[in-house]
Symmetry: C2
Subunit: 407 residues, 2 copies
């Protein structure tokens, strides 16, 4: 990769970046601009040592005793899901006891959808969703419907038409706040209010929200949510996911997957399920300690991060990328699909291009790692914890070079 001369205005933005010190907390491979943290967040430098301690010390040396060791201080493995939940709660505007950590986003979506249906008004059998929702959300709803004998209807409409479809037969509104392809961000608070005004229970997928910008589930009065541990939370490949259940639903919402780790007293070994207090009841099986410890450690990177500063930087990075790439749209078949409106943008920038797959392959070969999303999307994720405006410059110049080389 050749040396680039970064424009002074971008260097100035980096010079006064209040999050600039966070970059050093990540391992970023040499020779690469990594713009795929919205698919797999980069490795926080502190994680490998934590993994080694957990494997060698907690597992290897202390063995089974680690399940209870340090319980008085909440440092036992049993409490690990709760400790991680508390760290995630701050990022999504929830209270710690409203968050349960573990399982995958898919499994958690199943749990909260079942819970939402359980508290929905009688006779409501429609799950309303964005037709372009992330596939697993759609699949999970399909599987749940089949399990329930096809008694539900999964109603898929364009995101723009959601409001018009908030009707009295809808039980649950299942939406992903930020579209994984376009990066378009929905108005979580407004849609929640509109849905609830019609008696509809809301389920938000925060896969591309948590850790990317502040989310305020409590402020919005949201009902249920899920999110991903391995994108903007940087918890590692396939990191445990989370779910949110508003406190007011805890007593009435059914726990569809009721496992022993969601029991009020797991080691009582009682024959009947008595749910643990709070969202902990949604933790089903034994916590996956190695991966969960990595996520726990990764979340500490956020400890001193002001979330409004995070959002401001994210918008500055994505604004910069859009501005730099804009001239290329006049010369190449490149169409911006991410909203320019800040309120409607997540932390990524996407373009349509008729040869998106090939263009992205060339970019990756040149060390600009974004990703291709079917059918024709070039996707560039920006992580304000570790990206600089200089990275954005380098990425934009890379896009230009690849498009020129293909012309």
């Amino acid at each position: 990769m050749t040396t680039l001369t970064i424009p002074d205005n971008l260097l100035a933005l980096d010079a006064r970046d209040p999050l600039a010190h966070k970059r050093g907390e990540f391992h970023l491979p040499r020779g690469v601009v990594y713009l795929d943290g919205n698919s797999l967040g980069a490795l926080p430098r502190r994680v490998p040592a934590r993994l080694a301690r957990v494997a060698q010390g907690e597992w290897g040396e202390q063995l089974i005793r680690s399940w209870s060791a340090g319980a008085d201080a909440g440092q036992d493995w049993m409490a690990l899901p709760d400790r991680v939940a508390a760290k995630i709660a701050r990022l999504i505007g929830a209270r710690p006891h409203e968050v349960a950590v573990g399982d995958s986003t898919s499994v958690n979506t199943f749990k909260v959808l079942a819970a939402a249906l359980g508290v929905a008004g009688p006779g409501r059998r429609v799950i309303l969703t964005d037709a372009d929702n992330f596939p697993t959300d759609l699949y999970v709803a399909q599987g749940l419907n089949a399990l329930l004998g096809g008694t539900l209807e999964l109603r898929r409409v364009p995101a723009d038409d959601i409001e018009a479809h908030l009707s009295e037969d809808v039980a649950a509104l299942l939406l992903t706040q930020v579209d994984y392809r376009t990066g378009r961000r929905l108005d979580l608070a407004a849609l929640t209010a509109q849905a609830q005004a019609k008696g509809i229970v809301t389920v938000w997928d925060l896969a591309h929200s948590a850790g990317a910008f502040p989310v305020d589930l409590s402020g919005a009065g949201a009902d249920f949510a899920v999110g991903c541990g391995y994108k903007f939370l940087n918890g590692g490949p396939g990191a445990p996911a989370f779910l949110f259940a508003a406190e007011r639903h805890h007593s009435a919402a059914p726990v569809a997957i009721s496992g022993w780790m969601g029991h009020a007293d797991p080691f009582e070994m009682a024959r009947d399920f008595t749910p643990a207090p709070g969202a902990r009841r949604f933790v089903a099986g034994t916590p996956v300690v190695l991966s969960l410890s990595a996520l726990d450690e990764a979340l500490d990177v956020f400890a001193d991060v002001d979330l409004d500063a995070l959002r401001a930087k994210s918008l500055s990075l994505t604004d910069t990328f859009i501005d730099l790439v804009e001239p290329l749209a006049a010369r190449f078949p490149l169409t911006l699909v991410t909203p320019r409106d800040h309120a409607r943008r997540g932390s990524q920038v996407s373009y349509r291009h008729p040869q998106a797959r090939e263009v992205m392959a060339d970019l990756i070969a040149a060390g600009i790692i974004g990703d291709f999303r079917t059918p024709d999307i070039l996707r560039f994720g920006f992580t304000p914890l570790y990206h600089s405006h200089a990275d954005v410059w380098q990425a934009a110049r890379g896009v230009q070079a690849v498009l020129e080389a293909r012309a």
Copy 2:
């Protein structure tokens, strides 16, 4: 811990132990006899280095590329669940495409129960189970029943009465092969045949079987099964679990939790769920790569292990322990609850004692780590991969010392 003089006959058994070389592949803490591998298997020495490679190299350095890197050789993260499934398949007498790895045992129990109900005969609405089954199996069945509107009946009967309750209204028989408290082993083949003769679909929990002795699901013609990655498979705390679905059920069994990683082509991002071939369809969300890699590495310890030799050694270890502890039962209120009959024994030995909780606390303080199970069970798990008959001697002497000290 004082030096013990091990009887010659036990030293002779250890001297001709064909698995003696496996002990060196585990990290076993000094000053401890660890008899709780049926709760959390000991750390295979090779695992920490694998974790470090995955974290630093595959995640940190290769990042998102690891999902597809090495795909031609099946070495990509996408294929990791399948690679692990193949290793587990050998241990349970299954074919690789009949095993799906991921999620917890609880979540997998939910999946296979839903699948079993989906292929059960019409009108059958009873789940028959052992009243003393492991709690999470009961809880999961309860949660599934509640989700289905209470249309099922969970019929809990003593294990001895199962055969008499194999009636025409039973949809699924849900049994754990080895009782977690008593170590009693059920006749998987016979009960499967008896159940199927009545049109009942079988679901076996192999939590205390897989890796403890050879299981032959294919030979038994079993329908569905689940099992645990962190007990006798030594995959680490909360390691991913597995499920088994007999090939003949693949096309008809519903996939209740249908996530994108069980789709025939996950990155096609199709709007409708098309199941992947084989049991892979039951893999729901993104594989939890760190923990799954630890399990993958741990399973390689079994690569050169003859499973009949494993079983023979397990019986020799448990026989020895029973013989050594037997004289104590005449002096102390200690009652063996594990069957002496080899065919009916797993790889643990359990005793009832009225102060079991306190006795086990004393044992653990003395470096003999078994566990207490409510209400009055002392449980000692034996792992033929890393235990010697000398360990058994030491453990039995420890039990004697603790009981004498309390008398």
